[in-house]
């Protein structure tokens, strides 16, 4: 659907002539003339207004009755009065009515001081109360969930939270129960409201009925300061405001950015800030001394790291990930390539993609923006699960489907939370996204579909059906793909983009969700085995990719490993190989905030990592927006800026000293990464800048129509199942370390189809052993109807028993030897987290 065209019209409000887009709601249009109309239930982010609270009544000439400004579209020549006697009396009456049942709780209420009800009562209320009868009473405060407290006495029944749950998050959990004056907000059967995006209702509620439990009674608006920055817990890089009191982060609020997050946050982003101030966090440098980790001074740790790196020299490899910034990526590249003379660095866990393909993929003509997801004719979600990989994008897709009729087409190995909204879904074998892209491209060009479809483990008929749906949907097609698709080959994706003619069409494009929060930025800053800054040819020739680094470390050809914000043992595939690699490495230097297994067992030097609330630098959003991180608090304990550590190490090893300030490093980044040329730190303030919007399209060199590289998908056989894996939204050490979120931290579970489960004789909630020739792990069975039979899905990136302990492609599932009566409790938790 093309973006709506807007006509400007002129209307008058309180005697002022105001220009506004036609059909804008009066409540918004009046703001353009600096007239404020009080609202409670109206919130443009929630979609169509409902007119539930009547707070916005205004007088419009020519209409006998007062009208609700939130649901009246503005027309040319309209004459509106918001302060006439009639309007004033009506406003006072509505305030008085809303306060009839509202308790006098302001001194104990967390909303006090930032409460629309307080402000509107003050500004538009009558100033005195005539009500002496008893008010309605509920038990209070209650837990709506472990994260949200509900105080039903304070609720003014504005519907915002219910509409959010029904129409934005579409989790359909919140409802209004009972009717009339007994109405209250709750979930259908009283279960806790646990959902990936539940925290947004705290910000939506215009009164103190829904408040954050972790923030409960922590501070008042005049005790705190807001500090704008970004969430770097996932690639969506939502814009946030950190609420800071006494140099501690107490809360995270959304900082609306229509092109990034649309004003929402997921619960991980909203509550995992607690991990900034926990005791488990590493806040001082450590070295391994006689097998034990010991806290040491910075001088000692730097000396240890320097000598280790000097010994290894060109036999050093490096991995970067997590929330590492572009600047850190650049400095890491320089440390490795220029100072140590080693070309082996990577920021991805999958197979290397050729430099030509990277350049082609970053072509501005192929780039889509986040808001294109909302206005496209069709969105193709390819080999990713938005709610897990970049949660906030899921809300955007739902918005497009619900409000603009975007056709959603889904092709993934694992059943998706978006399945019910999709017009077309297709399942293929885990890890065969690239083959599926080839198959789709072939189907679109009426080529041979059978071979690639079979390799992808999908039926050719369904691939053709999906291709038909793509072609019929319209021109503007946005493909949202997961990075796992780029495992060694981007040809299929590029062929698909070509088949759809995406490069020529305005509003069509690709958005790739990388695995690391700043995956795209690290790539562009040159943390690739085969690419320097800005996808330039690497100065020392091609290095090894992550899997090869593990192998070479294992057999002693490499001796040192530098880990910038990643723990390969936890988050990279093939934990066995990494275990070997780390075992054999003589020096392992890690920037880490938590003692994850690889760091705890194998690091020889640990530098404390900064949290996103402390970091300074830039990161790059999957759509190419370079955004700026600003420190909200000082470094706790002995933590130092990580870019400083990297440039200090380079200096100690005899390299150039480099800039002395973070801004200086950013300036160097913009100068040395060709794609970022011309950017300035100042212009990134607030909303960041999309570099593809400025860069000219790359003339793609001769369509040498790459030949499909097809790997045949394995088949389930002999009772063994095909292994797939996914990283849940709740994976990550930050969730495990946050007291409020810990209850959501996943434990290994295996998703099976009921048919396979029946064959294997296992039940939902039962504990099983999943094994292959590499290893074995314990998991709880989760039966999902939509799981394709013959596949088993396990979770990656867990504190223990992560899916990367198995290599696949086939695994065996069998009942765990009993002896622990854990089943009950596991089931209980299961229901809580998925309720």
């Amino acid at each position: 659907m093309p973006r709506p065209h807007q006509n400007l019209i002129t209307f008058s409000v309180d005697g002022r002539e105001v220009q506004a887009p036609e059909n804008m709601m009066l409540a918004d249009a009046a703001k353009l003339g600096d007239v404020e109309i009080p609202v409670f239930c109206y919130e443009p982010k929630l979609g169509h207004p409902v007119g539930a609270c009547r707070m916005c009544l205004v007088e419009i000439e020519g209409i006998p009755k007062l009208q609700t400004a939130c649901s009246t579209a503005v027309k040319d020549g309209m004459v509106v009065h918001t302060q006439s006697e009639r309007a004033r009396v009506a406003q006072q009456a509505v305030v008085e009515f809303l306060l009839i049942n509202h308790p006098l709780d302001c001194p104990v209420c967390d909303k006090g001081g930032e409460c629309p009800l307080q402000d509107i009562t003050f500004g538009w209320g009558g100033g005195k109360s005539r009500f002496i009868e008893p008010k309605r009473h509920f038990r209070k405060p209650l837990e709506l969930s472990p994260l949200i407290a509900i105080d039903r006495e304070r609720c003014i029944l504005c519907y915002r939270c219910v509409r959010y749950s029904q129409e934005v998050a579409e989790d359909y959990q919140l409802v209004l129960l009972e009717r009339g004056e007994n109405t209250f907000v709750g979930t259908f059967d009283g279960h806790p409201y646990v959902a990936p995006f539940s925290g947004n209702i705290i910000e939506l509620c215009p009164v103190g009925a829904l408040t954050s439990r972790p923030y409960r009674f922590r501070a008042r608006p005049w005790d705190i300061e807001g500090s704008g920055s970004l969430c770097t817990l996932c690639p969506a890089q939502c814009n946030v405001t950190f609420t800071v009191r006494d140099d501690r982060v107490l809360r995270v609020l959304a900082r609306d950015h229509h092109e990034v997050d649309d004003g929402w946050l997921c619960d991980k982003g909203r509550f995992a800030y607690q991990a900034v101030h926990v005791d488990e966090r590493i806040t001082a440098p450590m070295i391994r001394d006689g097998g034990e980790l010991r806290t040491v001074s910075w001088e000692r740790a730097l000396a240890e790291a320097t000598s280790g790196l000097r010994r290894a020299g060109a036999k050093t490899a490096a991995l970067a990930g997590g929330g590492a910034t572009n600047e850190e990526g650049l400095l890491l590249g320089r440390l490795l390539r220029d100072v140590l003379g080693s070309p082996h660095l990577d920021s991805r866990s999958g197979g290397a993609v050729s430099l030509a393909d990277w350049r082609a993929l970053s072509d501005p003509a192929l780039a889509a923006t986040v808001s294109d997801l909302e206005f496209a004719n069709a969105v193709l979600v390819l080999d990713c699960e938005p709610v897990d990989d970049a949660p906030i994008l899921e809300l955007r897709i739902r918005k497009g489907v619900r409000r603009n009729g975007v056709a959603l087409l889904l092709a993934s190995a694992r059943p998706s939370a978006l399945d019910p909204s999709a017009t077309e879904t297709l399942r293929f074998a885990p890890g065969r996204g690239a083959e599926l892209a080839w198959a789709l491209a072939a189907a679109l060009q009426d080529g041979a579909v059978d071979a690639p479809a079979a390799a992808a483990g999908a039926s050719a008929e369904e691939v053709r059906k999906l291709a038909r749906a793509l072609r019929e949907a319209g021109e503007e097609i946005v493909i949202l793909y997961g990075e796992q698709l780029l495992d060694g080959d981007a040809g299929g994706l590029l062929a698909l983009a070509d088949a759809l003619g995406i490069a020529e069409i305005e509003g069509a494009g690709l958005i790739g969700i990388p695995e690391a929060a700043n995956g795209r930025g690290l790539r562009e800053a040159g943390v690739l085995p085969n690419g320097g800054p800005g996808f330039s040819a690497p100065p020392l020739g091609d290095g090894l990719d992550a899997a090869a680094i593990a192998a070479k470390l294992g057999d002693g050809e490499l001796s040192a490993l530098y880990l910038l914000g990643v723990d390969p043992l936890r988050s990279f595939p093939d934990a066995g190989a990494w275990e070997q690699a780390l075992e054999h490495a003589t020096t392992v230097i890690a920037h880490a905030a938590f003692l994850t297994p690889g760091v705890r067992e194998h690091a020889t030097v640990i530098f404390p990592a900064e949290s996103s609330a402390e970091k300074e630098g830039t990161v790059t959003h999957p759509d190419g927006r370079v955004q700026r991180l600003r420190p909200a608090i000082g470094h706790p304990g002995d933590v130092r800026a990580e870019w400083r550590t990297l440039s200090e190490l380079a200096r100690l090893l005899g390299g150039a000293a480099g800039p002395a300030t973070a801004a200086g490093v950013s300036a160097e980044l913009f100068a040395s990464v060709g794609l970022y040329n011309g950017l300035e730190l100042e212009e990134l303030a607030g909303h960041g800048v999309r570099w593809p919007a400025r860069a000219p399209a790359v003339a793609r060199s001769g369509e040498a129509a790459a030949k499909p590289k097809l790997r045949r998908a394995a088949q389930a056989k002999g009772g063994r199942l095909l292994l797939g894996s996914y990283r849940s939204i709740w994976a990550g050490p930050e969730v495990e370390a946050s007291p409020a979120l810990r209850f959501l931290a996943p434990r290994q579970r295996v998703e099976l189809s009921p048919r396979d489960a029946a064959k294997l004789g296992v039940l939902h909630g039962e504990e099983v052993l999943v094994s292959d020739d590499q290893g074995e792990l314990r998991a709880t069975v989760v039966l999902r109807d939509s799981t394709p039979s013959g596949t088993a899905f396990l979770e990656r990136d867990l504190a223990r028993d992560g899916a990367n302990r198995l290599r696949g492609p086939l695994v065996e599932v069998r009942t765990a030897p009993s002896g622990n009566g854990d089943v009950e409790t596991l089931l209980g938790e299961e229901e809580l987290t998925h309720a």
């Binding site: 302001c106 001194p107 104990v108 006090g112 001081g113 405060p141 409960r216 009674f217 922590r218 501070a219 008042r220 005049w222 005790d223």
Partner: protein, 186 residues
């Protein structure tokens, strides 16, 4: 730039803008005697007049000035008499009202095991920095629960500035010595 030549006594020549100094008459003669003794006697007249009035010195600190009931001295926090619960709910309104920004409140939640105040929340930390306080009494006006009032204590000197940060315990405690109050109509 070369330094300006420093003026020395010998070569100082005042310019055109000389100041004419008017001097008092030289002492001496009858006028001089009057100036020496007459004025002194006039001053002494006041002195002797006060002497007959009696002693006005207050022997502080043995003896204290009684203050008016509405005197704004050091603050007090209050408890409910029957239950002993603190009246303060930690709402921070006093901190918002304080023009000197000298009140710090950190609230916490009452639990069934530990009930401190009558409301849902209580002040886990309540501090007034009395070296900054201007004793305006706005905090007392702002408090919705009459939990804080201006007391009568005015003996607030100390050896150390940080000792002037009064904590909740200090503000809740009764002062060691009650400040005398003026009686009605005094």
């Amino acid at each position: 730039m070369s330094p300006a030549p420093s003026p020395s006594k010998g070569n100082w020549t005042p310019g055109d803008d000389q100041i004419a100094v008017q001097r008092a008459p030289e002492p001496g003669g009858a006028g001089g005697a009057y100036r020496a003794f007459g004025e002194t006697l006039r001053g002494l007249k006041t002195t002797f007049a006060r002497v007959v009035e009696g002693v006005n010195t207050i022997q502080y600190p043995e003896e204290k000035v009684a203050v008016y009931p509405r005197f704004r001295g050091r603050h007090k926090l209050h408890r409910f008499e029957e239950s002993g619960l603190e009246k303060c709910v930690g709402c921070s309104l006093c901190a918002a009202a304080c023009p000197a920004d000298c009140i710090r409140v950190v609230a916490a939640e009452n639990t069934p095991e530990m009930r401190v105040s009558a409301g849902e929340r209580y002040a886990a930390v309540y501090e007034i920095n009395l070296s900054r306080c201007i004793f305006c009494g706005y905090c007392e006006v702002a408090c919705p629960f009459d939990a804080i009032t201006m007391g009568h204590d005015y003996e607030l000197s100390d050896y150390n500035r940080s000792d002037l940060i009064f904590t909740k315990e200090m503000l809740l405690a009764e002062p060691l010595e009650a400040t005398p109050l003026r009686a009605q109509g005094e």
